[in-house]
C-alpha cells in the first residue's frame, strides 16, 4: 500500500535542541514539510521522539524487516532502546511484533558476529547494531556490506565507520566528564574514589576515560574493579571497598546497574555520605538519586537513540539522505534537578 505518509515523526520543539549534529558532518537539510505533516501521527504514539525524520515515500514499510542487535539483553538499557525502536516502528505504520528481529549476543562479540550472519540469511532490510567491541564487529559489518544490508550503528561508534550508514550514539565520553565535574564540585580534593569499570565494553572505556581525564589527580583513585556492570557482582566488591577505606568519598560506576550495587553496599554499611555516580539514567537508580541514596547519573536517552535509528534505517533503505553521525547528548540528573525529569521511565 502507498498510504504510509503518516510514518514520520518529528522531533517536538522542546526536544529539538537535545539533538546536535556532529560538527564534522554537514547537517543535511531536513525535509521540513514532511515532518510537519506527519506530526499528528507522532503525537498519537506517546514516546516516539526522534531526532530525525523518516522518509517513507515510495516504500512499502509493511514489507520491511528490521533487526536489532544489542550488546546484551540482560541490561534494561537495551530493553529501553528496543522500546524506542518499537514505538517508532508503530508510528511508521509497522508492526514490531512481526517486523522486528532481535538476537542476544550475551556480551560476546564472537556470538554477535555469528548471529549477524543468521540475520543476513533472513534477508532483513536493515540492521541496528550496538557492538561489544568496536574492531571485532568488523566481520559482521563487512558481511552486511557484502549483502548490501544497511547497518545503523547505535550506542558505541564502530572503528570502520565506512561500513555503516549512520552512527547514532550517546556521547559516552561526556557522560564521564559530567559525572567528574559534579564530583569535583561536591567532593574535597584529595578524597578517595573507587571506580567500577568494564574495559571489555568500548562505551564503558570512553566513560571511564572522560571521568579520569576530567578529575585528573584531584582525587586519590584507590581502586578499580571490573565488575561487568552487574549489580550482584558489584555489591561485594563495593562492600569490601568501603571496609578497606573507611574514608572513601565516592564511587564512579560505568553504568547504573553497577551503581545500584554500590547503593546497597553503602546502605548496608550505614554510610549515606559516600557519593555514588552512574551512567545510563536507569529509572531504578533515579529513584535512589531522588531519595538521596545515590548522587547522580549521566542519563542517556536510549529510546531516543532507538527511534532515531529506526528513522535512519528507513531512510537508508529508501535511498534517502542519512545523517552520518547523530550524537544524542547525555544529561546529568542529580538530586537537585531531578524534579525536572520524569523518572518513571527511560528517556
Amino acid at each position: 500500500g502507498g498510504s504510509t505518509s503518516t510514518g514520520a515523526s518529528a522531533a517536538p520543539a522542546e526536544k529539538a535542541e537535545a539533538v546536535s549534529e556532529a560538527p564534522a558532518e554537514e547537517a543535511p537539510a531536513k525535509p521540513e514539510a514532511e515532518s510537519e505533516a506527519a506530526s499528528e501521527g507522532a503525537a498519537s504514539t506517546d514516546e516516539a521522539i526522534s531526532a530525525v525524520a523518516a522518509d517513507t515515500e515510495g516504500l512499502d514499510v509493511k514489507n520491511l524487516t528490521l533487526a536489532y542487535v544489542p550488546t546484551t539483553m540482560n541490561n534494561p538499557f537495551w530493553s529501553a532502546m528496543m522500546g524506542g525502536i518499537k514505538d517508532e516502528m508503530k508510528a511508521l505504520g509497522m508492526d514490531p511484533e512481526t517486523q522486528l528481529v532481535t538476537v542476544d549476543a550475551d556480551s560476546d562479540q564472537a556470538k554477535m558476529n555469528n548471529f549477524v550472519y543468521d540475520l543476513i540469511n533472513q534477508k532483513v532490510d536493515a540492521v541496528i547494531l550496538a557492538p561489544m567491541d568496536t574492531t571485532a564487529v568488523t566481520e559482521a559489518l563487512q558481511a552486511c556490506a557484502d549483502a548490501k544490508i544497511p547497518v545503523i550503528n547505535v550506542d558505541t561508534p564502530v572503528d570502520r565507520n565506512d561500513l555503516v550508514e549512520s552512527i547514532v550514539a550517546s556521547d559516552n565520553y561526556t557522560a564521564g566528564v559530567l559525572c567528574a565535574q559534579d564530583m569535583l564540585e561536591k567532593l574535597d580534593p584529595g578524597s578517595k574514589v573507587y571506580i567500577m569499570n568494564q574495559p571489555s565494553g568500548a562505551a564503558c572505556v570512553q566513560r571511564e576515560q572522560g571521568f579520569r581525564d576530567t578529575v585528573g589527580d584531584t582525587f586519590e583513585i584507590v581502586g578499580t574493579s571490573d565488575t561487568e556492570g552487574d549489580t550482584a557482582t558489584t555489591l561485594p566488591v563495593a562492600e569490601d571497598a568501603i571496609t578497606a577505606d573507611a574514608d572513601l568519598g565516592a564511587f564512579f560506576c560505568i553504568n547504573d546497574m553497577g551503581a545500584l550495587g554500590c547503593v546497597q553496599a553503602a546502605a548496608a554499611a550505614g554510610r549515606n555520605d559516600i557519593l555514588i555516580y552512574g551512567v545510563d539514567g536507569n529509572p531504578d537508580f533515579m529513584g535512589y538519586v531522588k531519595d538521596g541514596s545515590a548522587t547522580a547519573s549521566a542519563a542517556q536517552q536510549p529510546s531516543v537513540i532507538g527511534s532515531t535509528a529506526v528513522d535512519e534505517a528507513i531512510n537508508a533503505i529508501n535511498g534517502k539522505t542519512v545523517d552520518k553521525e547523530v550524537v544524542v547528548p547525555v544529561e546529568l540528573i542529580t538530586g537537585e534537578n531531578i524534579s525536572n525529569y520524569d523518572i518513571s521511565d527511560w528517556q
Binding site: S79, V222, G223, L235, E239, M257, Q264, D284
Partner: protein, 327 residues
Amino acid sequence: MDKKSSGSNIFMQPVKAYFKQNYGILLAFLVMCVFFTIFGNNFLTKTNILNLLRTCATNCYLAIGVQMAIILAGIDLTGGALAALSGVLCVMTFENAGLPIWMGILVGVVLGMIVGFANGSIITYTGIHPFVVTLAMQSICRGAAYLFANGSPVTTTERSFGVVGTGSFGPIPLPVVYMTVFLIVDFFTLNKTQMGRSIYAVGGNELAAKFSGINLNRVKIFVWTVSGAMAGFCGVILAARMSSGQPSTGEGYETDAIAASVLGGTSFFGGTGSVGGLIIGVLIIGTISNGLNLMHVNSYWQFVLKGVIIIVAVYTDRLKQKRQNAA
C-alpha cells in the same frame, strides 16, 4: 577428677576430631588470614568479618545443596540460574501479582524445590548423568528468568522485603543468621538422620545401598530437591539485598559452590564430605576475594589466585589424607 575429664572429653573430642580431620585445609586458611591481616586494610575488624560472612552466606546456601549432590557422587549445576529465576518470581509475586511479601518468599523457595525435584526425578528415572541434566536445567532456568522478567530486573520498593536481606540480628547480618541455621540443620541432616546416612551410603557404594534396602530414588530426589530449595532461598536473599529480582544474576555461582565443597574435602568420587569441611571451604572462597579486595588487588589477579589456591589446597588435603592412610 574422673567426672571432669569425661566432661572435657564430651566437648573436646568432636573439636579434636574436627581439627585432626581438617588440619591441612585449616592451616591453609590460617595462612591466608595472617597474610591478609598483615597486607590488607582492616581485614581483622568486626565490620569486615561480618561483611565477609555476609558475602559467604549466599555461596554457602548453594554449597550446602551442591555438597550433598557431590557426596551422592553427582553434581548440581543449576544453582546460579535457579537463584536468578527464584529471585525474579519472588519479587514479581508481590510487585506484579500484589500478594503479600511472605508469599513471595515462599514462591521463591518452593519454585527452587520444584526445579530441584524435577532435576532429581529426571536423574532418577531416565538415568541421564546429573551433569547433563542439571546443565540443561541451568539453561532452562536462565531462559525462564529472562522471560518472566522480560529481560530487565524486577525492582521493588518494599522496605520490609529489603530487610529480609539487609537487616541484622544484634550485630549479625540476617543472611549470616540464616547461614548458621542452615549449617546446623545440614549437620544434623547429614549426621543424625537416616536420610543423611543414606546419602553417604548411596554415594559410597550405590549397589550396596540398594542391597541394604535403601530406596535410591527417594534419596536422590531428596538431595536435588534440597539443593533446589537452597538455590531458591539464595535467590530470594540476593533479591532482597538488591531490592530487585535480576534475571542475569548468579552466573557461575554454582562454580564457587563446587569449589567450596571440594576445598572442604568433599570427594568427587562420592561418599565423603563433612559440614565442617564445607564451612572452611566457603570461608576460603569468600576470603580470597575479600582479602584481595582489601589489598586493592586487581580483580583479574583474583581469578588467577583463586585457581591456584584451589589446586594447591586440594592437593595439600590429598597429601595429608595419604599420610593419614599410610599411618
